[in-house]
C-alpha cells in the first residue's frame, strides 16, 4: 500500500467528531459533505465499518422532515450539497430509504428558468438542479442531482433526462465545465477541474458526445500539466478519468498534493477525496454505470 494511503486512513479515523461526522478542515465542526466523502472513502477501502456506520448516522441526523439534508448545524435549510451526501446514503442498504427521501425532496425544488439572452449563452429554459430554492440550475448541483437520481433508480425520470441536457448545454466552448456559464457577454469562459470531473461522472453513460470528449480532453491536459491542483480537484479528476478508462495523475502525485499546505495536510475532505481517487471503482458511489 502506498504510504500516504494508510496515513490518510489514519487521519480519517483520528478526525472523526464525537457526533460521528467529519469537518471540512481540522478546526471546523461536522458537516454533511465531508462526512459523506469520509464515509465513502473508508467504505471504498474496506476500512473501519463502525466509523462508516457512525458517519451515516450523523448524516441521517441532519435529515429534515421534508427529506432535505442540512449542510451543517446552524443552518435552517438544505442545499444541493445534500444531494452529494444522498449519493453516499444510497450505496448503503441501511440508509437507502433516506436517500430516496433526499431524491424526492430534490425533485420537489424547481429551479428558476429564463429565456436565452444575448448576454448569456446558456439555454436558461432547461431545468436541472439548484443549490437552494428560488435560483437557477448550476452545474455542480445538477451533476449531484443526476448521480443521486441514477443511484436511487430515477435515472429515467424526466427531470434527470432534462438535467443531463442542462449539463451538456453548459459546456464551455474550449471543452470542460465551470460553475455553470459558458459564454457571458460574448466572452467564452474557462473550464475548471472539479465541475468538469463531476459532470463527466454524471454523464457516465454518455461516451461520445462532443461535450464529453471535450471535457475528457480538458482533464487529460490538466493531468498532464501537473502542478497547482489540490487533492480535492485531483481526486475528482482521477475518478472521472478512471471511470472512462483514462489515466489521471499518479498516486504519488496525489500523496505529494496532500502535503502541499498545512491546511490540506489535516483536511478530512481532501484526504477522503484522495483516497477515493485510488479506490476500486466498483466501490465508489459517484461512479455509475461501471467503467468502460
Amino acid at each position: 500500500m502506498t504510504d500516504w494511503i494508510s496515513t490518510s486512513l489514519d487521519l480519517l479515523r483520528s478526525t472523526v467528531q464525537d457526533d460521528g461526522g467529519w469537518p471540512y478542515y481540522a478546526s471546523g465542526g461536522s458537516a454533511v459533505e465531508p462526512t459523506a466523502m469520509a464515509v465513502a472513502a473508508l467504505h471504498a477501502h474496506q476500512s473501519d465499518a463502525p466509523r462508516v456506520e457512525a458517519g451515516l448516522r450523523f448524516i441521517l441526523a441532519m435529515q429534515q422532515p421534508d427529506g432535505s439534508l442540512l449542510p451543517q448545524a446552524g443552518q435552517s435549510q438544505g442545499t444541493g450539497l445534500g444531494m452529494a451526501a444522498g449519493i453516499v446514503l444510497a450505496a448503503h442498504p441501511a440508509s437507502r430509504a433516506a436517500a430516496d427521501r433526499v431524491a424526492d425532496h430534490a425533485l420537489s425544488w424547481k429551479p428558476e428558468t429564463a429565456p436565452r439572452t444575448e448576454d448569456i449563452s446558456n439555454d436558461g429554459s432547461l431545468i436541472g438542479f439548484s443549490w437552494i430554492p428560488g435560483v437557477f440550475s448550476w452545474v455542480e448541483p445538477t451533476a449531484y442531482g443526476v448521480l443521486l437520481m441514477e443511484r436511487t433508480g430515477r435515472g429515467d425520470h424526466p427531470r434527470t433526462v432534462e438535467a443531463r441536457r442542462v449539463l451538456r448545454d453548459r459546456a464551455v466552448p474550449a471543452g470542460g465545465w465551470n460553475y455553470g456559464n459558458s459564454i457571458v457577454l460574448g466572452s467564452a469562459l474557462e473550464a475548471v477541474v472539479m465541475p468538469t470531473a463531476l459532470v463527466l461522472l454524471a454523464l457516465g453513460s454518455d461516451r461520445k458526445g462532443r461535450e464529453v470528449t471535450g471535457g475528457v480532453k480538458y482533464l487529460e491536459q490538466e493531468a498532464a500539466a501537473g502542478g497547482g491542483h489540490s487533492p480535492l480537484s485531483l481526486g475528482w479528476m482521477n475518478l472521472a478519468l478512471r471511470a472512462r478508462n483514462r489515466e489521471g495523475v499518479s498516486a504519488d502525485h496525489l500523496g505529494d498534493a496532500l502535503k502541499s499546505s498545512p491546511r490540506i495536510a489535516v483536511s478530512p475532505w481532501h484526504h477522503a477525496m484522495a483516497l477515493l481517487a485510488v479506490a476500486p471503482l466498483e466501490r465508489i458511489p459517484f461512479v455509475v454505470g461501471g467503467a468502460s
Binding site: 442545499t79 443549490w131 455542480e140 460553475y179 497547482g228 499546505s261 481532501h270
Partner: protein, 331 residues
C-alpha cells in the same frame, strides 16, 4: 464609550427589523455627506509595508491594538492567462505586516470565492497560498466555515437575516482588500462589492445566486445585496489594489490596466467613490455607492471627500468599459 465591532453588530441588530419594515428608497444623488479616503502611489515590488502603514496612520480613528482582524482579499478565480483577477498577494501580506506593527492581535486572511468550490486550488494557483505560508498567516475558507446569522441591517433585499461565517462574526475588525476592476453586472468592483465573498457558499451556493435576485427591482438586486452586506457586517477599513487593475469585461475576463496606486480609508463608500473616480467613472452612477452613501457608509461625491495623500488626478485613468456601462462616465 468606545463600542467594538461585535458590540456594534449586536446593538444594531434590532434596527434591522425596522429598516426592513420601512424599506429603503434608492437615492439618485450623493447625500452631500463628506467622506474621507487616501490615495497613494504604490508598486508590488516597492516598500508596500511602509506605504500601507503610513496610510493606516492617516486614520487615527482606526484602532487595531490587540484586535482580531480578518483580511478579506478579492480571491475570485485563477486562469491560464495573466489577467489580474485577484488582489495581489503582496498587498495582503504587506497589510498584515503593517497591522502587526500597529500591535494588532490575531490576523487571519479569509475569502469565499463565488465560483470555485476548491479554494485551496485558487490559493495555490494565485500565489496567495505560498505568500501566506511565508508570512505565517492563516487562511480561512469562508465558504465552508461554521455559520451564524445577523439581522439584515440594510433591509433593501428580501433577506431578513444574513448568514455569515463564524470567522467574520468573531472578528473585531474586517478589512476589505479589493482589486480595482470593472464589473460586468455592477459597473465596478471595489471594497464594497468585494464583501460578497464574505457570504458563505455552504448556505448560498456557487455562485451566490440568491444575492443577485433578492432585491427589487431585479436590476438593482446585486447593488442592494452589496449595500446590505456592508451595512450589516460593517467592515472597518478598506484598501483598493490599484497598482494593476482590470478594465473592460471585468471582473474576470477583462484586461490589465496599470494605475500604480492604492486607495484606502475607513469609510468604504468614500474609498470606492475615490477608486471609481480614478477609473474615470462618476461615482454616483454606481448604484451600490448611492446606497452606501445614503446608509452612512461614507460620502461619495469626490468633490467633498477629504482626500488625503496624493491627488487623484495623478492616477486618473479612463478604464475601458463594456458598452452597457458607458453611462458611468456621464456627469
Amino acid at each position: 464609550m468606545t463600542m467594538n465591532r461585535r458590540e456594534f453588530l449586536r446593538t444594531t441588530a434590532a434596527g434591522g427589523a425596522a429598516a426592513l419594515l420601512g424599506g429603503c428608497v434608492a437615492p439618485v444623488r450623493p447625500t452631500g455627506t463628506a467622506g474621507r479616503a487616501l490615495v497613494t502611489g504604490a508598486a508590488y515590488d516597492g516598500n508596500l509595508v511602509e506605504t500601507i502603514l503610513a496610510g493606516l496612520r492617516e486614520f487615527p480613528e482606526l484602532r487595531v491594538r490587540g484586535k482580531s482582524i480578518l483580511l478579506k482579499p478579492n480571491l475570485v478565480e485563477t486562469t491560464p492567462s495573466d489577467r489580474p483577477i485577484n488582489t495581489h498577494p503582496s498587498i495582503v501580506v504587506a497589510t498584515a505586516e503593517a497591522l502587526r506593527r500597529m500591535d494588532a492581535g490575531r490576523i487571519l486572511v479569509g475569502d469565499g470565492p463565488g465560483h470555485r468550490r476548491d479554494v485551496e486550488q485558487v490559493l495555490e494557483q494565485s500565489g496567495l497560498g505560498a505568500a501566506l505560508r511565508e508570512a505565517k498567516l492563516d487562511f480561512v475558507d469562508l465558504n465552508h466555515d461554521a455559520v451564524g446569522t445577523l439581522p439584515n441591517t440594510g433591509g433593501r433585499t428580501n433577506l431578513a437575516q444574513l448568514y455569515l461565517p463564524r470567522t467574520v462574526l468573531s472578528a473585531d475588525l474586517v478589512v476589505s482588500l479589493a482589486k480595482m476592476k470593472t464589473h460586468h453586472w455592477a459597473g465596478a468592483t471595489l471594497t464594497m462589492k468585494n464583501c460578497f465573498g464574505l457570504m458563505p457558499g455552504i448556505v448560498y451556493g456557487w455562485p451566490k445566486n440568491v444575492l443577485h435576485r433578492a432585491g427589487s427591482p431585479a436590476i438593482a438586486s446585486i447593488d442592494q445585496s452589496v449595500a446590505d452586506i456592508v451595512q450589516t457586517v460593517r467592515p472597518g477599513f478598506g484598501i483598493i489594489d490599484g497598482v494593476v487593475g482590470m478594465e473592460g469585461d471585468g471582473p474576470i475576463m477583462g484586461q490589465a490596466r496599470p494605475v500604480g496606486c492604492l486607495v484606502m480609508g475607513d469609510q468604504l463608500a468614500s474609498v470606492d467613490a475615490t477608486g471609481a473616480a480614478i477609473m474615470g467613472f462618476q461615482p454616483h452612477r454606481i448604484r451600490y455607492l448611492r446606497y452606501g452613501d445614503a446608509a452612512g457608509l461614507g460620502g461619495t461625491n469626490p468633490r467633498i471627500i477629504a482626500q488625503r495623500g496624493e491627488r487623484i488626478d495623478r492616477f486618473r485613468s479612463e478604464f475601458a468599459v463594456l458598452p452597457r456601462f458607458e453611462f458611468l462616465r456621464q456627469a
